[in-house]
Amino acid sequence: MIDTLRLTAEDAAGLLERGEASGDELAGAYLDAIEARDPELHAYLHVVGEQGEGVPIAHKDVITTKGIPTTAGSKILLGYTPVFDSTVAARCKEAGLPILGKTNLDELAMGSSTENSAFGPTRNPWDPERVPGGSSGGSAAAVAGGLAPWALGTDTGGSVKQPASLCGVVGLRPTYGTVSRYGIVAFASSLDQVGPLTKTVRDNARLYEIIAGQDPCDSTTVELPEPVAIPEGEDLTGVRIGVPKEMNEAEGIDPGVSASVNAAIRLAEELGADVEETSLPRSVDYGLACYYLVAPAEASSNLARYDGVRYGHRAAVDGDLTALYARTRWEGFGAEPKRRILLGTYALSAGYYDAYYGQAQKVRTVIAREHAAAFERFDVLVSPTSPTVAFRIGEKAENPLAMYLSDLLTIPANMAGLPGLSIPCGLSDGLPVGLQLIGPQFSENALFRVGHALERALGFDFVPERLR
């Protein structure tokens, strides 16, 4: 009997290598778990159940998969079946990972709770009355709920790190440019990155190793400066950890979240790290505003492709081409994408460009410089991943600005193109708390090392209490 709640991807690979389970038996165990628990959790939009000899995987439904429907959680792509594979899907395929299915998300990756999905919310395996975070909430819930050994998500403002935090799993947002965006349904191109969601840091490093590297189909990708190192040690001697006070004392951080994070920081010190307070004054104060100008501006341009002509939804309209576009787009997009398209178009429009988009790009420079200065003294910066634990479904759905605050602490590093790893570091009110580790560009190996050491020392049990 394979316990999918407990099994890590490395455990699963071990079963296959030792011949203790076949690929079909392994995938079958996950499909059984999906049948048992996904009616409640709704982590999947589309279950595929491919046969294969490797460790199966779930892909967020913005990851283009040839011959498998890809909706991005939007009615505007309902019925769309891609005729090509994204690079990450192709790399997973080459590595022999069969696809379990496509996971739910906030529509077009815009949101922090998965409630913006046009196909209904995903529920948090720790408490089905609560959100799994977002936008990669389906991938996080699938891993936490034992419905996939590992999964891919995408992260623009925090969409891998934040759901990882809320579901008690490990999530990596890699350095911008290390993972190809070819075939990823685009949201904000200077920010979007694909990242792994896993039960352990070692699993995460293994999946990152599969997907990372330069791709001729994405000219923003680069070769990794060093190979991925699967972390082993538990010693943090010599690691310099900075604790930015604004990111650890920001208004709105739950006391229970702070307590867990502070305990993890003390543990890092016991493991040999040098821990010191530091400061990122403007990154936290201005990061959110900067992000909610840059990302919608890029989205308004990217989403122009949905025209009702080449693929996806098309409105029935008696009128000219412009009327067809305008009706198709109003009908096909949900509230949040429309809000962001309008906001982004406004920020880019004549008369407002300099004050909004242009100014936000300059703030982005300020944020990058503040981080670069901190990394002259530190190897890693730490903070809570999200200010709160998983919130109740519906709690923030009517208030976009309250929802946006959920990404307050993940956004600054993303604006600077930096990698970030979220690992579970404890519980608050019975719900997981995430610790965010940020490093300089291309420091994934350092993040894996610190994350792995802390994971071992913390001994967090990633199986949701109610499912044990």
Binding site: V83, Y176, S190, R329, L343, Y346, Y356, Q359, Q361
Partner: protein, 95 residues
């Protein structure tokens, strides 16, 4: 600065979004609230700061100009809502 009804309709036209009449005011209120929040970026004096449009220090990466196979026409049209004669059919343009 408050966003007006005319601003909303202008931006919606630019974005090719047909807002139903009854929803314009709601959109205006929400956009206004968000613009007020993001307008915080103007508090900083950044006259001498260069803008960042891309997080990596990359200069153009060129690909070799080599022909590669592309999608066959029928595959490119496979998801089109209204294909006709090997093309995408659209309503009359101009006219």
């Amino acid at each position: 600065m408050a966003i007006t009804r005319e601003d909303v309709l202008h931006v919606a036209a630019l974005a090719r979004l047909e807002i139903p009449e009854g929803e314009v005011e709601g959109v205006r209120e929400q956009l206004g609230a968000i613009l007020e929040a993001v307008g915080k970026v103007s508090e900083l004096d950044l006259a001498d700061v260069e803008p960042t449009s891309h997080p990596l220090d990359l200069v153009n990466q060129w690909a070799e100009d080599e022909p590669r196979p592309s999608l066959p026409r029928e595959e490119a049209l496979a998801n089109a809502p209204d294909p006709a004669d090997g093309s995408f059919r659209v309503p009359a343009v101009g006219g």
